[in-house]
């Protein structure tokens, strides 16, 4: 999948300024001396006075830059002292800071995929995308371990070779954009298994979940999907797959058959390859077996999710042999559930 970092350190992004507005020609602009930041400047801005950081950079898009203010900037007001917020604390492992999509085109069109928390953060198979016309600063965390992904694209350049990306990380831009003792490494193979691949972020679960604040849930039997940090109201469908199962094709099928229906428009559906430990007699673990987990949330008490879970399981029952599905079952936070095999 493609995972795109949401925040940016763009000059034109008003949320990056402490006054909530992009400075104009009557304003005095301050970067704190020790703010380490790479700022992308997309267009031309009037400058009255700008104090730059001691270590930082402005990347100038064609047409971007600065000009001396004549002090008569229309619509700028009397002028304020404004500060670029320190972007230092935005963490790679914060699931809220990523958007996921099945393709670059989907990313561009805003067709995002919902994922459990562990999978919202880039998995080792994923392509990580930082917006082309942007810069950013991401804290990859302490601990010194490497953070493997398939590829990283920064301002339009795709890095999928380990050495080349390591070189980029050591460049000035790279050092301003990525900080933390854990280094992102590229060149990991993509997911070669049509039935999907486990994300592999369970090792990072603590870091991921520490960024998440769980909402209180008000359903009878809250569910905890594998890879999610919070109990939720909704439903979990578990698919036992067989030869011929293709996760991507199945994701599209569920989308076209169900998610486009008005009655399911508020349902979020996340689909992951997960590994759940099997327990003999429900007690003794006897190994893990991979399966596909569909997490269904609707922000309400889970009624829509439960209805969709029934539809998904029925579909699997009717077309399982074609789809490569050996069995499907679901649990709902209402306490309901069903299975097929």
């Amino acid at each position: 999948l493609y995972k795109r970092w949401i925040p940016d350190t763009n000059y034109e992004n008003e949320t990056n300024w402490d006054k909530g507005a992009v400075p104009c020609g009557n304003d005095v602009v301050r970067f704190s001396a020790q703010t380490q930041v790479s700022v992308f400047v997309e267009s031309a801005h009037a400058v009255r006075e700008t104090r730059l950081p001691v270590d930082g950079e402005f990347i100038l898009n064609s047409g971007g830059g600065f000009y001396a203010s004549d002090g008569r900037e229309p619509g700028c007001g009397p002028g304020v002292a404004t500060r670029f917020k320190d972007p230092g604390s935005l963490r790679w492992f914060d699931p809220a800071l990523w958007q996921a999509a099945a393709s670059l085109d989907d990313l561009r069109r805003g067709r995002f995929l919902f994922s459990v928390h562990e999978e919202s953060v880039p998995c080792r198979w994923d392509d990580v995308v930082f917006r082309a016309l942007s810069s950013f600063r991401v804290d990859t965390g302490s601990g010194g371990s490497s953070v493997p992904v398939r590829a990283v694209s920064v301002r339009g350049k795709v890095f999928d070779g380990r050495a080349e990306f390591a070189q980029y990380l050591s460049s000035r831009s790279g050092r301003l954009q990525f900080h933390g003792s854990s280094a992102v490494t590229v060149g990991n193979p993509g997911c070669g298994d049509p039935s999907g691949c486990e994300c592999g972020n369970s090792a990072n679960r603590r870091r991921i979940c520490s960024s998440v604040t769980c909402a209180s849930v008000e359903c009878k039997k809250p569910l905890l999907p594998v890879g999610h940090c919070c109990e939720v109201c909704g439903a979990i469908v578990t698919i036992r797959y067989a030869a011929g199962f293709d996760l991507q094709t199945y994701r599209q099928r569920i989308h076209h058959l169900f998610l486009v229906l008005p009655k399911y428009k508020s349902v979020q559906l996340g689909m992951s390859k997960v590994s759940r430990s099997r327990r003999l007699m429900g007690i003794v673990p006897f190994g893990a077996s991979p399966e596909v987990q569909l997490t269904l949330l609707d922000g309400e008490k889970g009624a829509e999710s439960e209805a969709l879970a029934w539809d998904v399981v029925s579909d699997a029952r009717s077309h399982g042999s074609v789809l490569g599905i050996a069995g499907a079952e679901f649990r709902a936070s209402s306490g309901g559930g069903g299975s097929s095999s």
Binding site: N13, V22, S43, S62, G63, G65, A68, D70, E73
Partner: protein, 99 residues
């Protein structure tokens, strides 16, 4: 957010008048343009330097003036004595030493 860029244009995207000095990127080139009657100034503190690549621009600019002064001096008082002239003068001196 795409919308932000547009908003920023509204607030900042006014035409730059021809008398406003500016630094803009033009297709990857970094262009400093002075406006009419306006300056672009690069000011370091006393001990700071302006460098172009590895060259110390401050030193070189001062060298230009030293060069000019030297040239002015050479124009009025000459430089060293060309060997041809020195030889000829010696020859003439010898030739006329008995006079």
């Amino acid at each position: 957010e795409p919308g932000d860029a547009a908003a920023a244009q509204g607030r900042n995207g006014r035409d730059i008048s021809s008398d406003q000095p500016r630094m803009l990127s033009d297709n990857g080139h970094l262009v400093f343009t002075t406006g009419d009657n306006k300056e672009i100034r690069f000011q370091t503190s006393a001990s700071g330097r302006v460098k172009v690549g590895n060259e110390d621009l401050t030193l070189l600019l001062s060298q230009i003036k030293t060069n000019k002064d030297d040239i002015d001096n050479i124009k009025s008082h000459g430089g060293g004595v060309p060997p041809d002239i020195a030889n000829k003068l010696n020859q003439l001196d010898t030739r006329t030493s008995s006079l």
